[in-house]
């Protein structure tokens, strides 16, 4: 009975928020505009052309640093550009999910509905995942195209690591955006609180992305992915259990 009620409430909140987003385009427009600007800056700032001279200079630079391995310069740039773009654009989207509720005082009305605590968190988490996934579908191929990275040759591996990073990030981001919902400095405070918390997950995602790109045969992708998804489960479980207190404070 309780599980059915929770499922019904989650479905209702998600449908309501998607309808509102369809009408206002609030998250879509702000995230899209930010992503495009970010991508233009990165493309002009970090683009590495397939120039033999540049590759030779990069090899010399690595030799000077006493790095013997041959490293593709794109491998240095691509994972960073990819994850910075995802995280920064996602921050714009997730900041709105709870703020929309609070601006009209509706979070109070929602919090009064029996058993709505978990439903609110899971619904907002699903919405954040949907929003992030929607712009990743556009953003990731664009970055790959602009940086000339053949992501399709390892599509499954890229999909898995992006999914692992996105799930963990969305779980923590949903909690932090709820915590900051009453703060006037919300837009400043969310990144300040959130980014240090996701550093371990992001380091893992960067390492995995770089190794997928390099195609290192000794790299155990499956083990790394298992660890990343385990971190996701911990982040999600912690966020769900902590949300109860956050909601009490919001009320």
């Amino acid at each position: 009975m309780s599980a059915r009620r929770t499922l019904r409430q989650i479905k209702t909140i998600v449908a309501k928020d998607l309808l509102r987003e369809w009408r206002t385009k609030e998250v879509t427009i702000s995230t899209l505009a930010f992503s495009v600007v970010l991508l233009i800056i990165f493309t002009f700032g970090f683009y590495v052309p397939d120039d033999p001279l540049l590759y030779q200079k990069f090899a010399e630079f690595l030799a000077l640093q006493d790095i013997q391995r041959s490293i593709d310069p794109k491998a240095v740039v691509f994972p960073g550009v990819l994850w910075i773009s995802i995280i920064f654009s996602a921050t714009i989207a997730i900041g709105r999910t709870f703020a929309q509720e609070q601006e009209e005082g509706c979070l109070r009305a929602l919090a009064l509905v029996p058993g709505a605590g978990h439903s609110i968190f899971i619904a907002k988490f699903i919405l954040n995942l949907l929003y992030i996934a929607a712009f990743e579908v556009v953003l990731v191929p664009l970055i790959a195209l602009l940086f000339d990275v053949p992501i399709l040759s390892h599509a499954g591996a890229y999909f898995a690591v992006i999914a692992a990073g996105t799930i963990g990030y969305a779980a923590l981001a949903t909690l932090v955006s709820a915590m900051m919902v009453n703060s006037r400095l919300r837009d400043v405070m969310i990144p300040i609180l959130l980014y240090p918390l996701i550093i371990p997950l992001m380091i893992g995602c960067l390492v995995v992305t770089k190794n997928i790109f390099l195609g290192d045969p000794h790299f155990n992708l499956f083990s790394y992915l298992k660890v990343l998804f385990a971190v996701d489960v911990v982040f999600l479980a912690l966020s769900i259990s902590l949300f109860k207190w956050v909601l009490e404070a919001i009320e």
Binding site: Q9, K16, R23, A109, V113, A116
Partner: protein, 224 residues
């Protein structure tokens, strides 16, 4: 008859008492009016009854059950019309009501009944953002009543209503009273006729200074 009983209820913010040793009770089938200046403690009392605030000391019971315990299990028994409309501006009046009805697990068919009762059938498909203050107030009351609560908390529900809507709203409250609900209403509108309420509580600096029945104008004149 169900009763909400308040015993020595106090709420302290910092060093000042928002409510100080309040002793009273609210019975089913009654509409109690809370009067008082700004800062008298009316909204604090309402927030405590709506379970969005907690008393610093004292006891509240509903039908002899501790109120917090009752509210934890039966929060849907509390209908709350607050200062804010608690509505989604980007949704229509009907969509708002259907949303809250579904959240409470109530058959969305009751939405039509409530739209009729608050006289918003024609504007039901317009977005709430386009509603006048009076219309927002009426749809907000329908939202609070959608789950058929037994305790109805009304924080200035008549503000912004035109005379006809105000009269209709008071008639609705009368009907809810007859259905055996506990109605508690904060108002600054002293022109409400005696036939619409059963009791008046005048609050001053967190204390009850009057508890009885008289015209609202007389009470306000005597205690201010």
């Amino acid at each position: 008859m169900k009763t909400i009983r308040l015993e020595n209820l106090s709420r302290v913010y910092g060093r000042s008492f928002a409510l100080h040793r309040i002793n009273t009770e609210f019975k089913s089938g009654e509409l109690s009016v809370l009067l008082g200046h700004n800062g008298a403690g009316k909204t604090t009392l309402m927030n405590i009854l709506a379970t969005v605030d907690r008393p610093t000391s004292g006891k509240i019971t509903y039908d002899k059950i501790p109120f917090a315990k009752f509210a934890k299990k039966h929060r849907n028994e509390i209908g709350w019309v607050s200062h804010d409309a608690l509505l989604y501006n980007d949704l229509s009046g009907r969509e708002n009501l259907v949303f809250f009805a579904t959240m409470y697990g109530v058959d969305p068919k009751v939405v039509d009944e409530w739209l009729k009762r608050v006289d918003l059938e024609k504007a039901s498909n317009d977005r709430v953002a386009s509603y006048s203050r009076g219309m927002r107030q009426r749809i907000s009351i329908a939202r609070a009543m959608i789950q058929n609560p037994s305790i109805v908390l009304l924080d200035e529900p008549l503000t912004g209503l035109d005379p006809q809507s105000r009269k209709n709203m008071l008639k609705i409250f009368n009907k809810l009273k007859k259905e055996g609900k506990i109605l508690i209403m904060i108002t600054h509108d002293v022109s409400i006729g005696e036939e619409y309420f059963d009791r008046v509580l005048m609050l001053k600096a967190g204390k009850i200074v009057y508890d009885g029945k008289s015209t609202l104008t007389d009470i306000v004149t005597e205690f201010t």
